[in-house]
Amino acid sequence: MTERELIKKLNNLQNVKPDASWKTSHREILLSQVQNTCGDFHVSVLENFWMVTRNVFASVPQFAWASVAIVLFLTTGIFFGDRLPVGPNNSLYIARVISERAKLGTMSDGEAKSRLTVQYASEHIRDIASTLSEADNNADAASVAKLNDTFKTEMAKVKDNLPAAKISDDTALVTIADSEISTTGLVVYTPGSGDKKDAVATSTPPVVEVKDAKVILDEAEKLFNEKNYSGALDKLDEASKVIKQ
């Protein structure tokens, strides 16, 4: 007989029980004896609530609570993380990045995915530039270097995804709000001047005041490398407007 077989046989002995009649009669005797002792039992609602809560926490294994906490953290991060107003130096930033990646991972439309990638990456760039512009001279060199690297990575990501997102082609032209159709063709107003001049032909391209997004990003990168963070931020704002159109 193996140990396992012996244990199984011993487990079978759990079915040995006292007579039901003895149990019932003894229960009644016990009940009457117990009822005759000490006063009534009273527990307030609040006391009962704490008792139950404490026992629930004590009955469930700690690793189960830890798992629930992790799942809650990830769920919150996935659904709300991209709305968190946190910068790269914040500990919740990782939740935001996880959330963004999760959202990108669920997208199947290539163009929309690229557009969202550009949007997230440009937001990261803005955050990095903003953090560095606020950092004083005593800032940790290692973290500054890390932010610089991240900036370059995110910038490359934006530039790579711009053609796929079909942003630069559409937004390289001035918006139609600055023009109007007349009988002579497309009438173009010089932005801000208020003067009108008739176009020679309807095919004449409108005056291009808004630059290509890639050009603006290049300028922003240049300013960033020169540590002109406020200038870079202005350029990034300009690029963001173009990208969002």
């Binding site: 007989m1 140990e3 012996l6 244990i7 046989k9 011993l10 487990n11 079978n12 002995l13 759990q14 079915n15 040995v16 029980k17 006292p18 007579d19 039901a20 003895w22 149990k23 003894h26 229960r27 005797i29 016990l30 009940l31 004896q33 117990v34 009822q35 002792t37 000490c38 039992f41 527990v43 008792m51 139950v52 404490r54 026992n55 629930v56 004590a58 009955s59 469930v60 294994p61 189960a64």
Partner: protein, 193 residues
């Protein structure tokens, strides 16, 4: 062996918390929950059904007396408390009666109450019981005790350690030796047959 699930653990903890407040209804619920286990523990330790009935009654009354007069801070679980009272009651019983350990003799066979069992299961159970009936009393008292608590009544190692006043490691070693001793006794009998 089945481990108790969190719902059962919660129920037991809640019952124990209520007993700390001297709740009489909680004690009757505890009786319903544990009477089979305590009776079985007593029965396999003293080996006589009638005396197991009497002793089980005494154990529950003593436990209620203890609950009434104490704050129950020295026991971590209700089961551990009941087994501690059962253990001391059995020791008292031995002191008073000076009995020789044996399970019920052939004239008074053990009654197994379980309507859900098939005839084959019932026969198997009786055969297992027969082996234990003959061989369990031959084991040292402390071996017998840990085997009953762990493998028949399904107590956790921590609870056995609390009831016996030993460390978890000691209980584990004791269980290993007890099982080995019981297995040797059974194999010896099989050879003789």
């Amino acid at each position: 062996m089945t481990n108790r699930n969190p719902v059962q653990k919660f129920k037991e903890r809640n019952l124990f918390s209520r007993l700390k407040k001297k709740d009489k209804d909680a004690f009757i619920e505890a009786y319903d929950l544990y009477v089979d286990d305590i009776h079985r523990f007593v029965y396999f330790k003293i080996g006589n059904k009638e005396e197991a009935n009497d002793l089980t009654s005494i154990i529950f009354l003593k436990t209620w007396e203890y609950i009434k007069n104490n704050s129950l801070t020295d026991s971590r679980t209700l089961r551990a408390l009941l087994y501690k009272v059962a253990r001391t009651s059995i020791i008292d019983y031995y002191r008073q009666n000076q009995v020789v350990s044996s399970l019920d003799d052939d004239k008074h066979p053990i009654e197994v109450i379980d309507d859900s069992q098939s005839v084959i299961e019932q026969i198997n159970l009786n055969s297992d019981l027969e082996i234990i009936r003959k061989k369990l009393p031959e084991l040292k008292m402390e071996y017998r005790e840990v085997i009953i608590m762990r493998f028949i009544n399904d107590l956790e190692l921590e609870e056995i350690a609390e009831v016996t006043g030993k460390t978890k490691g000691n209980v584990r070693v004791l269980l290993f030796r007890a099982l080995k001793a019981l297995r040797e006794l059974i194999e010896e009998q099989n050879k003789n047959n």
